[in-house]
């Protein structure tokens, strides 16, 4: 065989593989992709666990005094949370009573599933995260995801042991929100956010009589009207509103909590009735 052909053999093979991939049926491609993802998932999980172990050993280097102080602080925080939980339980009972009294439809029930963040998905410009829970834990596509700063996003892919969450800072996520204290739905959509910067979102269809500035921001919360997200979850702070040129509405800018950028722990709200969530991307019949 001529030497020149031998040299070209890797390129030839690569070209052949690409050609085969191109003509492969879509079902096989999808199967291959999913298989590869599941095959790769343990590596991500292992890396995540190793990270946790690393944190553990770094904590072990702390002195006893430091740990005692931290434990004392934690106990204080726990106490305050316990108090809040009791308060929440009381308020929840009151809300249920009022809903029953007014014959209001109750919102869908959710089951909490805490999950650790494995990593950010750089394939989606860091606007997605992968969490360490999947279909094995009953996670459903479309489930809302919350964190300490409020609403984190929505589950868009579920694998056996991991799930992909689209963050609210992603332009691919849109929801019906309301201004805190108002009941008119407005459209919130993630903005085009460069990585490593505070995330922002875009508001549309805001009634003209609502106002917000960076000096007097207004809280934006989920409306509960859209059927996916329960009401009252904090989305962000509205820092700018200006009239749109059509004169019908205002458009605005929403600052999302900075903690979303370094999110490590989330809670997936899995609906007890799976029919209340709809998989995103299911628009096609």
């Amino acid at each position: 065989m001529p030497r020149r052909f031998d040299q070209a053999r890797p390129f030839f093979t690569l070209g052949l593989v690409l050609l085969v991939w191109l003509i492969l049926p879509g079902v096989l491609k999808r199967f291959a992709r999913l298989s590869f993802y599941e095959l790769k998932a343990p590596v991500d999980l292992a890396a995540s666990y190793v990270g946790d172990l690393q944190d553990f050993w770094s904590q072990k280097t702390r002195t006893n005094n430091e740990l005692i102080v931290a434990a004392r602080d934690l106990a204080a925080v726990n106490a305050s949370y316990e108090f809040r939980m009791r308060d929440d339980a009381r308020l929840r009972t009151e809300i249920s009573r009022l809903e029953e009294l007014l014959r209001l439809p109750s919102y869908g029930e959710f089951r909490s599933e805490p999950a650790r963040v494995v990593r950010r998905d750089f394939n989606a410009w860091w606007q997605r995260i992968i969490v360490r829970k999947g279909s094995n834990h009953g996670i459903l596509v479309g489930s809302p995801v919350v964190y300490s700063g409020g609403l984190a996003g929505r589950v868009v892919e579920v694998h056996a042991t991991t799930s992909v969450v689209e963050l609210i800072s992603s332009p691919g996520l849109r929801l019906a929100a309301v201004f805190d204290g108002d009941d008119r739905p407005v459209s919130f959509q993630g903005g085009v956010n460069p990585p490593l910067r505070p995330a922002q979102g875009v508001l549309e269809f805001v009634p003209l009589d609502l106002f917000a500035t960076s000096a007097a921001p207004r809280s934006l919360v989920t409306s509960g009207l859209g059927g996916i997200f329960p009401p009252g979850l904090i989305v962000g702070q509205v820092v700018q509103l200006e009239p749109s040129t059509d004169g019908l509405f205002k458009t605005g800018r929403v600052l999302i909590d900075e903690r979303l950028g370094r999110i490590t722990e989330v809670t997936v709200l899995v609906p007890i009735d799976p029919s209340v969530v709809n998989a995103p991307g299911e628009a096609a019949p």
Binding site: A176, R184, G226, G227, S244, A283, P285
Partner: protein, 654 residues
Amino acid sequence: MPVPRTNERSGTLIESHRGYDPRLWVFYGFVILLLGALASGLFYQQLLRTGIHLERETVQSQRRVVIPGPRGNLYDRDGRLLVGNRARFAVTLHLDELRTEFRHEFLRIRRNYREADDQNIPSAPELERIARISVVEGYLGRINRILGTQFQVNTETLERHYRQQRILPYLLLDDLQPAHYARLLEQLPVTSPLQLYTSSLRDYPHTSLAAHTLGYVAADDDVEVDETLPGSELRTFKMRGTVGRQGLEAALDPRLQGQSGGAIYRVNPAGYRLLPPLEQRRPVQGADVVTSLDLDLQLAAERTMTEMGLAGAAVALDVATGEVLVLASKPDYDLNSFTPRLTTAVNADIQARGAWMNRATQGLYPPGSTFKVLTSIAGLRSGHLHPDSSVECTGTYPVGGRVFVCNNHRDRGTITFPMALEKSCNTFFYDFGLKTGIDSLAAEARRFGLDRPTGIELPYEATRMFVPDPAWKLARRNESWFSGDTANVSIGQGDLALTPLQMACFIASFARNETLTHPTLLHDPDRPRQHSPATDLPLAGRAAMLAGMEAVTTTGTGRILQTDRFRVPGLRIAGKTGTAQKRTPAGTLNFAWFIGFAPIENPRIAIAIMMEGDTPGEDTGGGRYAAPVAGAIFKAWAAKTGRFTPPPPAAPSP
């Protein structure tokens, strides 16, 4: 003939030609000429006609979509919204993003037919149509699942849209409820061909308030394209806009119309648009207009008119500037029923109730006894009437061969000039009207502009009003003028026909002691006081008139204004009631009138009210049916204006 010869190298026979045949030069020249023609043609087409080809290519491959701008808002003089826009949420489907799905569905349906060995397989165009409907139904099914509804695809509109307006989004669902909009907002993927679309719909927060004045809009499929919008040479598709059809919406349409926006798209040979657009500009809302109307006064007038249960009109003017504070006409209609479109049933209902006409500007009515104010002015100016003039009223007054009757045929005794106004004594005005003469009466009416339209901004103002005189009667009816005609005109009867708006302008002019008032529906806080020729009334004459007109509202025919409901402490009102008769095929109908202004010492508001009697022969008096409407307006106006100093108490009698 070429000569075959043997090739020396191969030894085979080949055909050879003798070179450099001079005749070949001709051929070469011909070829060069042809090539030159081709090259020059290429040069001409590619270099010299570049612009033309580029333009043709642009026109052929680009389309312009025009989106009308929302209309401007209308406000009352205090900045309160009278007409605005409300958002209309709709779901649209971009058919051009479904090309692949249409094709796949087409192939699937065709395969099914073939597998079923069905001999009645439809033609390819029919299959394509079925595929389109099937795909769109699938998308609508998705929406139905989200909303829990059962909407269905209108196949006719879908096909029409596909054939004619493929580049525009297809309106799948219109006028969504806020709850539905919220669900779709959250559950439709951002990248779906299904998109939430917002457009503006005219909104009238006070429904039927000032319906005839504000007017309404109708759909406009041929919206005016802003000249600065690029792509005028391109094939243009226009989204539906609105155009003013009546009232201020029509009169101020050029100001209210928004600036259209739009986008230019490149399209493929099948007419599908290619994203993103080459150029895009957002529509801009039209200019807002602050009207001179006063919401509180308009509400007060219309509420009382509704209580009266009669058709009619009410006009109130700012005496100094001529700005219209109230312009109401009953019966009316809910302006919101015109958007997005007027249904046949509503149209028939408005027609049946006779609500289309703006009675304030289009209705022509005999002014009745309110015209006695003008008769007084004419008499005073002609010198036949004096402040101390009086007449012995016996209840009847013979003119020529006819006997004219006074109000209620009552014997009133001696009637002075102020009393004549207060009691609206016909006998007094027959007498002095005849003495003044028709020429003076008609000239005075013309001097006050009662023979021509007022020129208000509203469209379709009546133009056939007239003040009769002998020349008119001769020309129109070929009849002579009789004294009876003058007597009739003296009390606002006969052939006199005026609009309530004209009477409002007349009384506003009189309040300023001038002769003309130009009404306007546009508010300008810096508008200067109107000026027109003075009435030239003797001071004593005017004082007598004012005394008589004040007495009308205190002890006379308009004394209802002193009841608890309408009385404003300290506010002195000059007024005149009237009850005009008009013969109709059904019988004689009465029209109740009231004109007046206040405060007498410094006139600021002038009012004219007319209420139509609806039963022939029924006494529909101005004091009973028209004065209350004026009273409600005066009271609402006084509540906004502030307190009035009550007149000093009468000195105790010795």
